[in-house]
């Protein structure tokens, strides 16, 4: 009998009924961690000495989980998957992780990510690439790659993630699980290594909507250490899941979903959009109204550049604390400039350095208005556009990405400019701080794909409830990666 492939509620019941003990759960989870590590390289650290927690009324008590390695965890190596912090052991814990600890949750692993959350492939972490448990030749996407891989492999029921562009919601889709980032500021960012502060969100990955609701209920809360956090004590995500969605109004965007936008569409893309349209029909069968809307294509086309400009600008500043002077392996040199240069040159991957160059360039006084300020203006326009949609619709429903997970050697789709909007539209959820959740929506070539539901700020209960209803209808709840399952992890 295994438990780590079950839902939180099922595991909790087993604990309460004394069918299993927290020690046994830790043992099961750790053993699965090690097996997965061999196959997929999902972990920076596996906590072999994880301590048991008492079983209480709290649904999370006594249950193992994973933490993305950009969460600061006291006494436990926290690298952000970067060589710049390869030996960094913090002396304070992120607020949201402290909240999970208070709930009695047991951290068993720190998961690999794209370096500091930059990148969407799971290939840039300092400990190597993360493989997709559904197909080891494919990526998990990123940056919460290790979290997505481990949850989909049934190592534990959930893991924390962070999402600056789509870093929770895209890997969730590619790994056939649920990924949710709540409204900006609902979960404190204190202790989350920053990438782009105005876009960074904490969130969770799990195998069903109920589980992400339970986890985020525990992680969230106003925090005196994060001025952007707010009081959400009147929001009860798990309690408000009732599956009642009759009369709910959803919209999808023609310029993103219509196959005619993609003249060179691959077979996978065609299937993906076809599947999405079929899923919309299933929505309607639940009494949900679904309408097609149109958004200015010029605005949508600007989306990816806006993200690059804002996220790189904030990132280059946020990571200026990484000098190797106070923490991190100190660089060599005859003066502080040489020391910082040496540390940063050796520590960062080329991808990050490229982003720093972009970030510095767009903030230079002669470029700032043209790039940075314009990007902020377009960000505002896009957010306004989405807010207008939310006046009429409860949420926007869209397909995630242009198909299933990419193979490591396939770069064709990534270079296909036509599908940029499809690949990047989840970033609007970060621009506006909107609650946004990805759920599995089917399979293409035996690989999972997902769709996303995004609502207006503070409407998290509604967004989750829609996802909950769709999940029940679609029937991909609680699935474990097949590849791994066949090999009996």
């Amino acid at each position: 009998m295994t438990y780590m492939d079950k839902s939180i509620k099922e595991i909790h019941e087993a604990l309460v009924n004394k069918e299993v003990t927290p020690e046994e759960l830790i043992k099961e989870s750790l053993s699965k961690c090690h097996v997965l590590q061999e196959k997929c390289n999902a972990f920076v650290t596996i906590l072999d000495n994880a301590k048991k927690m008492e079983v209480t009324d709290n649904l999370l008590s006594g249950i193992p989980y994973g933490v993305k390695d950009n969460y600061s965890t006291k006494g436990v190596l926290s690298t952000g998957s970067s060589n710049t912090l390869k030996d960094y052991v913090p002396f304070f814990t992120a607020t949201s992780i402290t909240n999970l600890e208070k709930a009695g949750a047991i951290m068993v692993g720190k998961t690999v990510m794209d370096e500091f959350g930059m990148g969407g492939t799971g290939t840039t972490g300092h400990t190597g690439i993360v493989r997709n448990p559904w197909d080891l030749n494919r990526m998990c996407a990123g940056s919460s790659s290790g979290s997505a891989a481990s949850v989909s492999a049934g190592v534990y029921p959930y893991a924390t993630g962070s999402d600056t562009g789509d870093s929770i919601r895209k890997p969730a889709a590619y790994c056939g699980i649920v990924g949710y980032k709540p409204t900006y500021g609902m979960i404190s960012r204190y202790g989350l290594f920053p990438f782009a502060s105005s876009l960074d969100h904490c969130g969770a990955l799990a195998r069903c909507v109920e589980d992400v609701a339970i986890v985020v209920d525990a992680m969230k809360g106003i925090d005196k250490n994060d001025m952007t956090s707010w009081d959400s004590s009147n929001i009860h995500l798990y309690d408000s899941l009732n599956g009642n969605v009759k009369g709910t109004k959803l919209c999808y965007i023609k310029e993103i979903c219509d196959i005619n936008n993609y003249p060179n569409a691959s077979l996978e893309l065609k299937e993906h959009l076809h599947n999405f349209m079929n899923k919309l029909k299933e929505c309607q069968s639940l009494g949900i109204e679904v309408e097609e809307v149109s958004v200015d294509k010029t605005l949508l086309n600007a989306l990816a550049s806006v993200y690059v400009v804002i996220s790189c600008a904030e990132a280059t500043s946020n990571m200026s604390n990484l000098t190797g002077i106070i923490f991190g392996p100190r660089g060599e040199g005859n003066n502080y400039i040489e020391m910082m240069k040496d540390y940063r040159t050796k520590g960062f991957s080329p991808l990050i350095k490229r982003r720093f160059v972009i970030g510095s360039y767009v903030l230079q006084s002669q470029n700032k208005d043209r790039y940075f300020h314009n990007a902020q203006r377009v960000r505002r326009l896009l957010v306004n556009e989405w807010n207008k949609l939310f006046e009429k619709y409860d949420a926007v429903i869209l397909p995630v990405g242009s198909g299933p997970a990419k193979t490591f050697d396939d770069t064709s789709n990534m270079l296909d400019k036509n599908t940029t909007i499809l690949e990047e539209h989840l970033q609007i959820g970060n621009f506006g701080g909107f609650p946004s959740i990805t759920i599995p929506s089917g399979f293409i070539n035996n690989l999972p794909v997902g769709l996303n539901i995004t609502g207006k700020c503070y409407d998290d209960e509604k967004v989750l409830n829609i996802a909950y209803a769709l999940e029940n209808k679609f029937g991909y709840k609680g699935q474990i990666a097949k590849e791994v399952k066949e090999n009996e992890i």
Binding site: P90, N225, M227, T228, S317, S320, Q364
Partner: protein, 485 residues
Amino acid sequence: MKYKALIGLEMHCEISETNTKVFSGAKNSYSDIPNSNIRPVDMGFPGTLPVVNKEAVRKALMASMILKCQQPEYMYFERKNYYYPDLPKGYQITQETKPIPVGIYGELKFDFEGQEKVVRINNIHLEEDAASTDHFGSYSTIDYNRAGVPLLELVTYPDMHSADEAVAFLEVMRSIYQYAGISEADSKKGQIRCDVNVSIMDIDKDETLPSNWGTKVEIKNVNSFGGVRDAINYEINRQIELKEDGTYDSMEQQTRRWDEELGETIYMRSKVDAIDYKYFVEPNIPKFKISDEWKEEIRKSIPSLANERKERYIKELELSEYDATILVKEKKVSDFFENVLKENIEPKVASNWISSIMLGNLNKLEKEISDIYLTPKMLADLINKVTKNEISIKQGKEALLQSLEEDKDPNQIISDLGIKQIGSIDEIEKIVLEVLTEQPNAINQYQEGKTNIIDFLVGQVMKKTKGRANPSATYDLLKKKLEGK
């Protein structure tokens, strides 16, 4: 003199009167133990976030109001990005002029050499201080106690024309910061630091037209008022020499630094090499509204400043302008004075003791009023002993000096020494009679009209009593006896 100097100041003053730092929960307090007042955010550990200290904002807004600046509707902070080991995050959280900081476009009026001087303020903004570094030959040390201490930066227009004017401005500002309870403004603790802008122009040209101004030279990091005076004078002379040489026009806009030991300004960089700080709005601090109610509340809570106190001392307490000026120059002195008054001491008497006697002694001893053991109550008790003739004024003064020197209560000093003035008439009369018996000649001389012989007789009484007899009572008594009354 063919030239006129235009001087602008950037005055940085730490806000010392808050419990915690400006964006961190660490204690805002000067400490000799390095790295004792720090939190993770002060060292830029990954994942830490700034949290604005409302009290620091309140004090900054108060300074803005005192300087008659406009206050913003919404408060924003910005990041100023640059690398330096004393800047743990790699950026400083500060404010720029757009969006507007805690204050823009104000003025400061003050007396300078008997005339009213107006210096226009471009802006005042709230920011965080950097860590402090010490350099030793092959290595440097960093102390993060200062990192994150709230700092007010005040930027003036180039409205001053001499080093004296600039220093007078700084003194008035220091007094404002002290009186308003914003800062101790102690340059010895490094709480005040200045950047000085100096240019010269032909004296006969119209200075209201910026096109007539000379080339601006910025002198960085001048850390004392004396340094400001010397740096300005040095720089004016240096620029005049360039004018006389005919090389002034080829001088580029530049930044120099003041070398205190050499007494020279030294070239650092030209405007062309100015650092691009890549400012952008700090995303971790949401903009917040400064409500009219809060502004009003702050405005009402502005304490009375030096000038108001001075006026009150002159009008209500009937002190001379000279004394009042001395008393209000430093808030701690003025507070001491007011606390002595609370012990029911006559204002003029208290003023005398403090402004001439106590401050004179402190000056001699090179001590600050903040360093002394003497309390207003102790001084009041001492003054009372003198006015009640229990001790002589001379003894009082000596006890005060000793108290300041040795950090003791002057009243204790007096009782330890058994000093007590003989005040009772009966006791004095006994001695007066003794003296008169011993000095028949003196009586004769007095009666012959040589009335100043009485001073000799007073001296004799004093000699017998070892100075403990009350001199004026002795004088009165002698006179009475000599005139046979």
